[in-house]
Every structure is written in C-alpha cells, then in structure tokens.
C-alpha cells in the first residue's frame, strides 16, 4: 500500500522549526464526545478528534454523513436551527465554546466561516462588505483605519488587485470566485483565530477553485482551518489532516478515521476509508 490511492503529489513538509513557530501563534481546537441533534434525529454521534493549529483539517465523507452539521457545531451556528442541539464539548485553546458563560456571538467572531454558496451582502459595496463584521462591534471607524482594514483583508484574500478600482461596486457584481474570496476577506476582517469553510468551492468553476485552494495554502500560515469537502482530490491537495465521517444505516454521522492526510490517502487503517477514497462507496 505504498502507492497513493488518489493521484496527488503530497506536498513537501516544512522545516520543523518554522512549523513550531506558526503553531505557537495559531489557535487549536479539540472536539470531545460531540453529538448533534435535530429534534429527535441524531445527526452526529460521539465525535472526538483534535484540530491542529496553523494547519488545514479536512472533513470528508459521503453526502448526508453530517459534515456540514459538524462544521456548524464548531461556531455554534447549528443551534440556530429550531429544535437543534448539541452535547459534548468543543474546546478553543482549552476553553469550551459551549460553556453557558460564553456568548455565541463572541465564539462566531473568533471562529469565522465561509459558506458553500458565496453570500456577500447584496445591498453593500465591496468595501462595506469587508467592514460589515467590524461595524457590528464598532459603529464608527475612522476612514483611514477603515481603508487600512479593507486593503489588508482584501490582500489577505488575494482579491485586492482585482477589486481595488471598484470598491464602491455592489459585492454581488463580482464573479462567483471573487464573491467567495470577498466572503473570506469579510471573515478575515474581524481577525478570527479559526476559519471554517463549508464546501467553499462546490459552486465555483475549476479556475476559481484553484484560486481558493492557493489561498487556503496561504491562509494556513496564520489561521487554523477546517474545510468540509466532498472532493477527494481537493482534500488531498489542501489538507494536512483528514477526518473521515460515515453515516451508516440510521444516517447518524460517526468518525471512522482521523489521521494526517498523507496517512489517510496512502495507507488508511480502516477498510471503509479505503473503500470511500477509492470510490467504492459514497
């Protein structure tokens, strides 16, 4: 089993010292015995695995295995659905984000999210879309500071050069790929610790997808990233760690295997993982 199951070039690992430096500044998360419910239906059962700092953790698995539910548990978005609830713990740098003393709005500010379909605010310009998150916390931002935040965020999302001359245009006038990068810039503007991405490229064409994947590789220098994807090649290209979920008979998502991307794609321990990544199931 030394031959990779999916044809990918496994990226060159960084020197250990630089990696240690990055991990010291980025946040880590831990999922402990996490279960999620919609009313009586249990969507996720008893998940436990770490989310390593300054690295990309990909969640893969067939449709309906609870990938999206899982990622929505990481920033407490799941509980907004009527009847939805969660049990277990999700730690951000050792603090349980489900602690009753913790404000979910604060959790969501520290753990940014990018959605499947680009969703820039249609009534706001590119400029105001980037600032939307900051304006929730501070209604007045001095113009020079606002300009600086907009430029920094758009540069971080590798969108600045494409939109710097049309910052006043509505966010929805950009192309799909640009809109998604605008949403990333919007999430980065409020300086999160972790970035969640729920199938961020499933609505995009291959070139826009390529740009987003390049961006993810760039962003993990500073941010801890969790990405849900149903595209195995994508997981292999961008991820450092992979969690494989499977729904089973009663459609309750369970963690089948968690390991480094290298291990999962070249030498999975579980038979189900191997069958899934070689295309036999799912």
């Amino acid at each position: 089993m030394s031959e990779p199951l999916v044809s990918v070039t496994v990226r060159q690992r960084e020197p250990a010292q630089r990696l240690a430096e990055r991990e010291a500044v980025a946040a880590s998360m831990t999922v402990e015995r996490l279960s999620a419910f919609y009313g009586k239906f249990q969507a996720l059962a008893d998940l436990t695995f770490p989310i390593h700092p300054a690295a990309v953790t990909a969640v893969i698995g067939p449709s309906g295995c609870g990938k999206s539910t899982f990622i929505r548990c990481l920033n407490r978005l799941h509980e907004l659905t009527p009847g939805a609830r969660v049990s277990g713990r999700v730690l951000l740098d050792g603090v349980d984000i489900y602690d009753p003393a913790i404000d979910p709005a604060r959790v969501r500010q520290l753990i940014g999210m990018v959605f499947q379909k680009p969703n820039p605010f249609p009534h706001l310009s590119v400029y105001d879309n980037v600032l939307a998150g900051i304006r929730l916390h501070r209604s007045r931002i001095p113009k020079p500071q606002a300009d600086e935040i907009v430029e920094r965020s758009l540069r971080a999302a590798v969108l600045w050069d494409e939109v710097k001359d049309k910052l006043g245009a509505p966010g929805s006038s950009l192309s799909g790929g640009q809109q998604q990068r605008l949403c990333i810039a919007r999430a980065l503007a409020i300086e999160p610790e972790v970035l969640l991405m729920d199938e961020p490229t499933s609505a995009l064409d291959p070139i826009a997808t390529y740009h987003i994947e390049e961006l993810i590789a760039e962003l993990k220098q500073r941010y801890t990233i969790v990405i849900v994807t149903h595209n195995m090649q994508q997981a292999a290209r961008v991820a450092d760690y992979v969690a494989f979920f499977l729904g089973g008979e009663e459609r309750t998502g369970r963690l089948i295997e968690f390991d480094t991307a290298e291990q999962i794609f070249t030498n999975p321990k579980r038979r189900e993982t191997e069958e899934y990544i070689t295309g036999k199931i799912g």
Binding site: N75, L77, L80, P82, A105, R106, R108, Q109, G112, M113, F115, K117, N119, P120, F121, P122, H123, A132, G133, R135, L136, H137, P170, S172, S173, C183, R186, A187, I190
Partner: protein, 301 residues
C-alpha cells in the same frame, strides 16, 4: 436516423405520438384568451379615464384647486378636500409604516414558530379581508367616542391605519421571507446578534418589497370613503384643519358629495375631483415602481 425522425413529425409505427400541431393550436388559443382577459381590464381603465377626463376637463384650473367648496358651482373648489387627503396620508404613512414593519419583523424573525403564531398570522390575513365599513364602525367606537377625539383628522387617520396595517404586515412578511437564509447565516457567522442581523442585513435587502407593499396599501387608503363617513367626517368644509383635532374632509368624500347633488354643474366638479384623485393615485403607484426598481438595481448588480 435522427434526421428522418425530425422530419416525420408524427411517429407512424411507434406508440408515442407527439401531436405537435394540436399542442401548438391549444397554445395559441390559450394565448389569445389571456390577451382578451388583459384587454378587458385595460379597456375598462381606459374607458374610465376617457369618460372622467371628458366630463371634468373644463373645471380643472388653479382656482379649482385653490378654492374651498361652495354652493355656487362656478366658485367651488377642492382645497379643503385636497389638503385633508394630504394630511391624512402623511399621518397614515408615518404611523402605519413603522408599526406594520415592526409587526412583520416580529412575526417573521423573532416569534417562535408555534400554534399561537400561526393563529395570529391567520387572523392578520382575516383582518386584511374585513370590509372597510367595519373599520369605520370600530373607529367610531374607539377613537371618536371612547377616546373622545371627535370626527377629527387624527381619528380619521387612526381608522385608516387600522384598515391598512394588515396589508402592510402581510407585504412586509412576504418581503422578509424572500430574503435568502444565507444572508442571515452570513450575519450570524460574523458574530451579529439577532437584532443586528435583522437591522443591518435582512431589512435593507427586504426594503424594496416592504416599500412597494406600503405604498400600495397607502393607495388603497387614499380612496377610502365609507369608514371616514362612518366616523363622521364632514362632507362640506370651508376651512383647512389647523390641528390634529380639527374636523376634516377628503377627496373621495368631496366627490361623493358633489355626485349626489342634482345639478349637472356639480357632476362636472366631481369629475374634476376624480381626475385629481386618480392623478395622486397614479403618482403613488409610479413612485412605488420607481422605488422598487431603484432599490432592486442597487441590490442586484
């Protein structure tokens, strides 16, 4: 193979018969029927406008707009009615809009989805269908008598507000429901509270729809006669209201008054009043269309 299949429109030896000519004929007949239906509505409006303009054209002048009503048709005008209508509409708009939008926001964004909420929703739809005269009786009982406001400007405005509030609430809820859930999620994911999400992201996107609904509701209120007569609005007023508690009249009442006179000269005055009322109404509706188009363009591209 495909070429021959395309050319012979009716498959001879297969079970499946597309019957394209028949389908095309049915389509054409139905198309013609819809054109007739549309023409009936349009011709009615055209006939109405032509008839009214022919009758009332001669009385239209600055004097007609500037003068108070009079016993002598040659001196009569619509000043008090026009000003009364403008006052009433302004009052109705500034009170009904925030009330209606707030109620819609509560029902759509904050209320728990349970039986009580759906019971309230059902009854708001019922209220929108209640005949306007019933609202007149309600206004007479509450505003004119119980609150002793008398047949005043404010009592008239409050009565009309009750009448159009359900319409604004329904239009507002539909506009809010049309905002995609992804917008709300984007707001929450940035750390917005529920109220911030509604105020900063959902309401602005729903605003074109809300405004259109409100303006259409107002244009319903502008033509109402029965509830205002019920609360005791005067049919003859030779002064303009100076305060909210002064008596008033509005254009439809003035028109009704003139039409019920026997002299033909007053009928011409009524036609003149109708032209002014229709012009205001069309201006309102035009405004709604322009507003919607502008806000939507802003949002779309």
């Amino acid at each position: 193979m495909t070429g021959t299949q395309l050319r012979t429109t009716v498959g001879t030896d297969t079970e499946f018969q597309p019957r394209l000519p028949l389908r095309r004929k049915v389509g054409a007949v139905f198309g013609a029927l819809t054109v007739v239906a549309m023409a009936i509505g349009l011709l009615t409006l055209a006939a109405l406008i032509v008839d009214v303009v022919r009758d009332g054209w001669t009385v239209l002048s600055w004097d007609f707009i500037r003068s108070f009503p009079s016993r002598r048709p040659s001196e009569a005008g619509i000043r008090s009615a026009l000003i009364g209508t403008v006052y009433i509409m302004v009052l109705v708009a500034i009170i009904a809009f925030p009330l209606g939008v707030s109620a819609a926001v509560y029902l759509e964004e904050f209320a728990p989805k349970n039986r009580l909420t759906s019971f309230i929703e059902l009854n708001i739809s019922n209220l929108a269908a209640v005949p306007s005269i019933v609202y007149g009786l309600l206004g007479l009982g509450i505003f004119v008598r119980a609150l002793t406001l008398g047949p005043s400007l404010i009592a008239g405005a409050l009565t009309l507000i009750l009448l159009i509030l359900p319409i604004i609430i329904i239009a507002g809820r539909e506009a809010l429901r049309a905002v995609p859930p992804s917008i709300r999620e984007a707001g929450y994911a940035l750390g917005a509270s529920r109220w911030q999400t509604v105020r900063m992201f959902v309401l602005p996107v729903a605003m074109p729809g809300i405004l259109t609904g409100t303006i259409l509701a107002l244009s319903r209120a502008i033509g109402e006669t029965a509830p205002l007569i019920t609360i005791g609005a005067l049919t003859y007023i030779a002064f303009t209201p100076k305060s909210l508690l002064d008596p008033f009249t509005v254009l439809p009442i003035q028109i009704y008054n003139w039409v019920s006179r026997p002299q033909p000269a007053f009928h011409q005055l009524a036609a003149g009043g109708i032209i002014i009322l229709l012009a205001m109404l069309l201006t309102f509706n035009g405004l709604a269309i322009v507003l919607r188009a502008r806000l939507q363009r802003q949002i779309r591209d």
